[in-house]
C-alpha cells in the first residue's frame, strides 16, 4: 500500500502538526487553514489528475511529540508532515525518519533537525533570524546594550541564546536576559526590571500574545526603547493585541521580491483566504492592521510542493522520495530553494518594522516604500470591504481617499481605532 493513499480512493494524506491550543495557537490554526485552502484549491482546479489531498491535523500540545508522530504515521499514513517551529515535527522527527516521510517546516525553527529525516525548510532558522536582528540592532543602529526577554519553550530559549551569542560577537552587551511566563497576569515588573538594566534595545523572542503583553507593559511604563522580535511577531495576533505599542517593533523576514509581494498571485491568495477563513472577533476590537497570515501562506505553499511532487511521481511513483529530492519550488509567497538545511541565509533576510497599519521594510537600503504602500491598498481594499462595495462608486472613492490620506500624511490616520465611519463595519467579504 502506498503511503498516504487510502485503499478505496486516490487520496493523499498530508498532516499538519502544530500548536492548535495555547500560546502559539494562532499560527498553528492558520497553518491548518492554509493547508486546507491549498487542498480545496487543488481539488477545484482538478490539478492532481483525479487524485485529492486530504488534510489531517494534530495539536502538538495534546501529546508528547514522539507518540503523537508515531500515532499519526500509524493511523493516517501521511505522504508528508507540515510543522511549525519548535513543533513535534522538529523535536521528534524520529518516527518520520524511520518511515522516510518528509517533513516541511514552515517557520523559523529552533531545534536541530534530524539529519536522517528528509526535511524541507520553508522558513528561516532561529539562528539566521537572531543573527540578522542582532546585526541590525548593534551594527546598523548602534544599540550596544541589549536586553532579551524570551519564552521558556524550545524556540524561545534557543533564540535567547542565539541572540546573546550574536550580540557578544558583534561587541555589544547583553545587559539582561529573562524568561517570560505566559501565565503571568501582569508583565509590568518584568518591563521595569528590563528598563532598570539600562538597555537601549529589547529583543523579544516569544509567541505573539506574550510578546504583545510585554510590548504593552514596556510602553505603559513609558520606556522608549527599540524593540525587535522573532518572526512569531508577524502573526496578525501580535498586532491586534499590541495595537499602537507594536509600532516601531522590528523583525527579520525573508526578502520577498516586490513583484511577488505586490503581484496578483499573493493578492488573489489573500482574497481567497480571507473570504474562506477570516472571522473578525468582536466589533470593538476590529482594527485596520496588517493581516498577513504568514504561516497560512507558507502551509499553502507546502501543500502545493507536495502536490507538485505527487504529479512528478505519477500514480505509481514514490511521492515521499520525489518530495525529498525537491530542490526548489515556486510558491505564492516565495521561490523556495531547498539546497541546504538553511532555507534562508542571513543576507536573505530583511529588517521590517511595524508602522501605522502595516509592515514597512524601510530600514534597509534599497527598500521602495512607495511600492509597499501600494501593497497596503490591496490590504485595505481586500480585507475589510466586500467585492460588491468595492465595485460601487462609493467604495472606489473611499478606497482612494484612505490611500490618499495615508500617502500624504501617514500620521494623520489612526488605524488603531475601531473603524466605524466612513468605512462600513468590517466582516467577512
Amino acid at each position: 500500500m502506498i503511503y498516504g493513499c487510502s485503499r478505496d480512493s486516490d487520496e493523499l494524506t498530508v498532516a499538519v502538526v502544530a500548536p492548535l491550543s495555547g500560546e502559539n495557537a494562532s499560527s498553528g490554526v492558520k497553518a491548518v487553514e492554509g493547508a486546507r485552502l491549498a487542498a480545496e484549491s487543488l481539488a477545484a482546479r482538478e490539478a492532481m489528475g483525479g487524485r485529492k489531498i486530504r488534510i489531517v491535523s494534530r495539536d502538538e500540545r495534546k501529546a508528547n511529540p514522539a507518540s503523537l508522530l508515531s500515532d499519526l504515521v500509524r493511523r493516517d499514513r501521511p505522504v508528508a508532515v507540515i510543522g511549525l517551529s519548535s513543533s513535534a515535527v522538529v523535536s521528534a522527527s524520529g518516527p518520520l525518519a524511520r518511515e522516510g516521510i518528509p517533513a516541511l517546516v514552515i517557520w523559523g525553527s529552533a531545534g536541530k533537525l534530524d539529519v536522517k529525516a528528509p526535511v524541507l525548510r520553508l522558513g528561516p532558522s532561529n539562528a539566521a533570524l537572531s543573527e540578522r536582528v542582532s546585526r541590525w540592532l548593534v551594527t546598523a543602529r548602534g544599540l550596544k546594550r541589549v536586553a532579551i526577554a524570551a519564552s521558556s519553550d524550545e524556540k524561545g530559549s534557543d533564540g535567547a541564546k542565539a541572540v546573546s551569542r550574536a550580540v557578544s560577537r558583534l561587541h555589544g552587551d547583553v545587559v539582561a536576559s529573562v524568561s517570560i511566563d505566559p501565565d503571568a497576569l501582569d508583565m509590568t515588573t518584568v518591563a521595569q526590571g528590563l528598563q532598570s538594566s539600562g538597555a537601549d534595545a529589547l529583543v523579544i523572542w516569544a509567541p505573539p500574545r506574550a510578546a504583545a503583553r510585554l510590548c504593552l507593559a514596556v510602553r505603559a511604563i513609558g520606556w522608549d526603547v527599540q524593540i525587535a522580535g522573532s518572526d512569531d511577531l508577524v502573526d496578525p495576533e501580535f498586532r491586534v493585541l499590541a495595537g499602537g505599542s507594536s509600532d516601531g517593533v522590528a523583525l527579520a523576514l525573508p526578502d520577498i521580491s516586490p513583484q511577488r509581494w505586490l503581484g496578483p498571485a499573493l493578492r488573489d491568495w489573500l482574497g481567497d483566504y480571507h473570504r474562506r477563513f477570516t472571522v473578525l472577533p468582536i466589533a470593538d476590537q476590529r482594527t485596520l492592521v496588517t493581516a498577513l497570515p504568514y504561516s497560512a501562506i507558507t502551509a499553502y505553499d507546502a501543500v502545493n510542493a507536495v502536490a507538485d511532487a505527487a504529479r512528478r511521481a505519477g500514480k505509481k511513483g514514490d511521492i515521499r522520495a520525489e518530495l525529498a529530492k525537491t530542490k526548489s519550488f515556486d510558491g505564492v509567497l516565495n521561490d523556495y530553494r531547498f539546497v541546504s538545511r538553511e532555507a534562508f541565509e542571513v543576507e536573505d533576510l530583511r529588517i521590517s518594522r511595524f508602522y501605522n497599519f502595516s509592515l514597512l521594510s524601510d530600514v534597509d537600503e534599497g527598500a521602495d516604500v512607495a511600492e509597499q504602500i501600494a501593497f497596503y491598498k490591496v490590504q485595505v481594499s481586500g480585507f475589510f470591504l466586500s467585492d460588491e462595495y468595492l465595485e460601487s462608486e462609493e467604495g472606489r472613492e473611499l478606497s482612494e481617499r484612505v490611500l490618499e490620506d495615508v500617502l500624504n500624511d501617514p500620521d494623520s490616520v489612526d488605524f488603531f481605532k475601531p473603524y466605524r465611519h466612513p468605512l462600513p463595519a468590517p466582516g467577512k467579504i
Binding site: 524570551a150 529573562v178 524568561s179 501582569d186 509590568t188 515588573t189 532598570s196 504583545a212 493585541l241 468582536i282
Partner: protein
Amino acid sequence: MDVAAQFLVAGIGLGSLYALFAYGVSLVWSVSRTLNFAHGEMVMAGVFASIVALSLGASPVSSILTAAGLSAVLGLCLYKGVYQPLSRRGSSPLVWVLGIVVFAALVRDVSSLVFETGTYPAPIAVGGDGLVSVGSVVFRAAYVWVFLISAGAAAAMEWTIARTSFGRAVRATAASRETAELMGIHTEKVTALVFVAAAVLGTLAGILIAPLTFVSVSFGWVLTMKGFTAAVLGGLGRGKGALVGGLLLGVFEQLLTLGEFAASDGASHLFAAGYRDAAIFLLLILVLVWRPSGLVPALGTDTRGTKR
C-alpha cells in the same frame, strides 16, 4: 532599591487579586468540602460576557452586571446540576470532584466553540490601565482597586461569617450538615448561595485583571490554579487565610522574578518560567508540611490543623 519596592508593590497588588480568587475556593470548600475546579472557568465565561457586552455598546456597569449575572447562573448550575444531585445520592467526594471537572470542561468547550483559540484584549471597565507613581515607585492603578476590593471582601467575608445569621448558617453547615438541618437551617439554600457568591466574587476579580492581561479560553485554568494555591497556603475556609495566602503567593512570585534580574549575568536565563512554578509549589508543600491547615488556622484548631 526602587526596583525592589516596585516588585514588592506589584506582589501585593497581584496577591490581593489572587486572594479574591481564593475567597471563592475557600467559601465553596467551607460548605461543601469540595474543591471547585470549575471556579476559573466560570470566571472566564463571566469575563467574556463583560467583553461582549462592552463591545455591543453596554456601559461598564451593565457589562459588570452581565458578567456577574452569567457567573451567578453558572454557579447555580454547578450546584443544582452537579453538586446537589451527587451529594443527595451519597456519592463520594471523588465523584463530586469528577463531576465538577466535567462541568469545567463543558464550560471551557462551549466557550471554545464561541471564541475559538482567539485571545481578546479586554476594554477597561474599572480601575484603568494607567500607572500610579508614589515617589520613585511606579505601579498599575488597577492594583489600588484590587487591593481595596480584596481587603474589603476579606473584611466583609469575616464579618458576614462571624456576625450575620447567614454566616452562622454557613458556619453551622460547614461544621455539620446534619446538625445544621436539625437546627432548622436550610443547608441546600446556604450552599447554593455560597456557590453563586463565589462565582460572582471571582468574576469581579477577573474583570479587574482582564485589562492587564488578555482573555482567552485558557484564562480560567490559570485563575483556578492561583486561587487554589493561595487558598491552601492561607488555609481553606478562612477569609483572612485567603488574603494571607494570596499576598504571600503574589509577593513570592515577584521576588522570584526580581531574583532572576538580580542574579542574571545577562548572558543566560537563570530561571526558566517553569522553575518559578516549581518554586511556588515547593513553597506550598513546605507550608503544608509545617502547617497542614494553612498559615491561618481555623478557630478551634492548633497550628498543625488538629482540633483542640
